[in-house]
């Protein structure tokens, strides 16, 4: 709370519409952060696009489609190991594998693939817990009414588990937005506006890091931080709203 207040007080002076919509000049010393905002949103959306279906699919497979076996233990072990890896290691892996080996270069694609791997454990674990917490009896009702496994999963289990799944996705979005190390290594830090998947870009967190670290402009750094915090708050508010709508529809 104190941190947010300090960021707010120091950042509000430099925050205006022009700062948000203008391109940066002179390494970010002047101008705005528009390309970074776009880059951040693209990074978040693309990582979710890769990680959410895969993560949710894995969670559904682990909970609804298999019994506990050596394979599920192995998958869970893998997921837990991934969760404990520091982000810089993901960065190095992404740099070596996506950027160099697969010749993607520093690009949105390489960055979002790396981030997707990084947030996958969170999505799998939270979705799995959410799905497990749906009462077994509700599944039985669906089966007893002639529902197949897939129909039961999509029509009964997932709607009930939606709030929990959404929480995992929110955590993942937060992590992607605030990640620096892994992003610098894989998406680069170009200040241009990324227009294709293969373009390099600079996310807000990276921009903030560079502004502060290189001593370019502390005022702009605080303003960037404020934008970052506001975006996270806004996303949470929107998610909370939708979560509320889903739960009130199904209960």
């Amino acid at each position: 709370m104190v941190i947010i207040c300090i960021i707010f007080i120091k950042g509000i002076a430099n925050l205006n519409l022009e700062f948000i919509l203008a391109f940066p000049q002179d390494m970010g010393r002047h101008g705005g952060i528009f390309p970074s905002i776009v880059g951040t949103f693209c990074l978040v959306l693309l990582s979710l696009l890769f990680a959410a279906p895969l993560g949710l699919g894995t969670a559904i497979y682990l909970t609804e489609y298999t019994r506990e076996s050596r394979l599920t233990t192995l998958i869970r072990f893998g997921v837990e190991s991934l969760a404990g890896v520091p982000s810089i290691i993901y960065g190095l892996f992404g740099f070596i594998f996506f950027v160099i080996k697969l010749k993607m270069g520093w690009s949105l694609l390489a960055g979002s693939l790396t981030m997707a791997i990084m947030i996958l454990p969170t999505i799998i674990r939270t979705s799995e817990e959410a799905i497990k917490s749906v009462p077994v009896n509700l599944r039985r009702v669906s089966y007893s009414l002639g529902g197949t496994r897939w129909e039961t999963t999509t029509r009964v289990v997932l709607p009930c588990a939606a709030p929990g799944i959404l929480t995992g996705i929110m955590l993942s979005i937060g992590r992607t937005i605030s990640e620096t190390a892994a992003v610098i290594f894989t998406m680069g830090s170009s200040l241009r506006l990324p227009t294709t998947l293969m373009d390099s870009g600079r996310s807000l967190a990276v921009h903030f890091y560079i502004l502060a670290r290189e001593g370019i402009s502390l005022e702009k750094a605080y303003a960037t931080a404020l934008v970052l915090v506001l975006i996270i708050l806004a996303i949470n508010a929107v998610a909370y709203y939708f979560m509320h709508r889903i739960t009130s529809k199904y209960s």
Partner: protein, 255 residues
């Protein structure tokens, strides 16, 4: 043991073991079409397991061995090639506790219909209303079909579950202690519904309430310690039981 005529479900030499524990031993029993057949006995006597064979809900248990055959109109439902999904549309189930899905009253009844691909709203409206009427619930909820099913009372929820099952127009309805958590008035409403419904359906009612079995069924079977002790017309079984155990149970000496 008298075998009723016009057999709908035929249990032949059915034995079920969970791991090493025998849950049912050599059950032979025929359930009569268009009647209410009651299964009674103390808990753990295997009566619920027996009906879970008919709708194959037993598939969800681990480590079960099943012997013998259960036939509906002559075809064995235990055969590996049985289409379980369509079987469960023919055999409806009402569970011991009311289990409405966390949706509106309307959507609860429409759930099974939607699974069958019925999505036309006028048709759904009609079928939902019809099912709710058959379960003696329509008058109470007609103005609030769009409110959550979880807001209904326990008795209403259980009738909703019955309506949900009826919507699929099954041939057989299995009720697994449907009134165990209900008050006498709600119970009476369910029993009233059952006596109407047996014109069209074959009903199996599992209960450990002997009075309910006496009131609501045409045939009754008494299970004890994994075995079928006695089976016959409800009236003669209650007035003139052949076995001492049955008499003791009916009179409330144990169980």
């Amino acid at each position: 043991m008298t075998a009723p005529m016009d057999c709908k479900i035929n249990f032949e030499q059915v034995s079920v073991t969970f791991g090493s524990a025998a849950v049912l031993r050599d059950i032979n029993l025929q359930v009569c079409r268009n009647s209410v057949t009651g299964f009674m006995g103390p808990s753990g006597s295997g009566k619920s397991t027996l009906i879970s064979l008919v709708n194959r809900m037993i598939d969800f248990e681990n480590g079960v061995t099943i012997e013998g055959s259960v036939t509906i109109d002559g075809s064995n439902v235990l055969a590996p090639r049985t289409d379980v999904i369509s079987l469960r549309k023919r055999v409806g189930t009402v569970f011991a506790v009311p289990l409405p899905l966390p949706r509106s009253i309307f959507e609860n009844v429409a759930y099974g219909l939607r699974l069958q691909g019925i999505t036309r709203r006028p048709l759904l409206d009609e079928m939902v209303a019809e099912s709710l009427s058959k379960a003696f619930l329509f008058e109470e909820v007609r103005d609030r079909l769009d409110t959550s099913a979880l807001k209904l009372s326990g008795g209403q929820q259980q009738r909703l579950c019955l309506a949900r099952t009826l919507a699929l127009k099954p041939e057989i309805i299995l009720l697994d202690e449907p009134c165990s958590g209900l008050d006498p008035i709600s119970t009476a409403k369910i029993e009233e519904a059952l006596s109407e419904l047996k014109q069209e359906y074959t009903i199996v009612l599992v209960s450990n309430n002997t009075k309910q079995i006496a009131r609501a069924t045409d045939y009754a079977a008494f299970f004890y310690m994994s075995a079928l002790v006695e089976y016959g017309e409800t009236f003669s079984l209650f007035t003139n039981p052949a076995m001492q155990q049955t008499e003791d149970y009916i009179q409330g000496k144990f169980g």
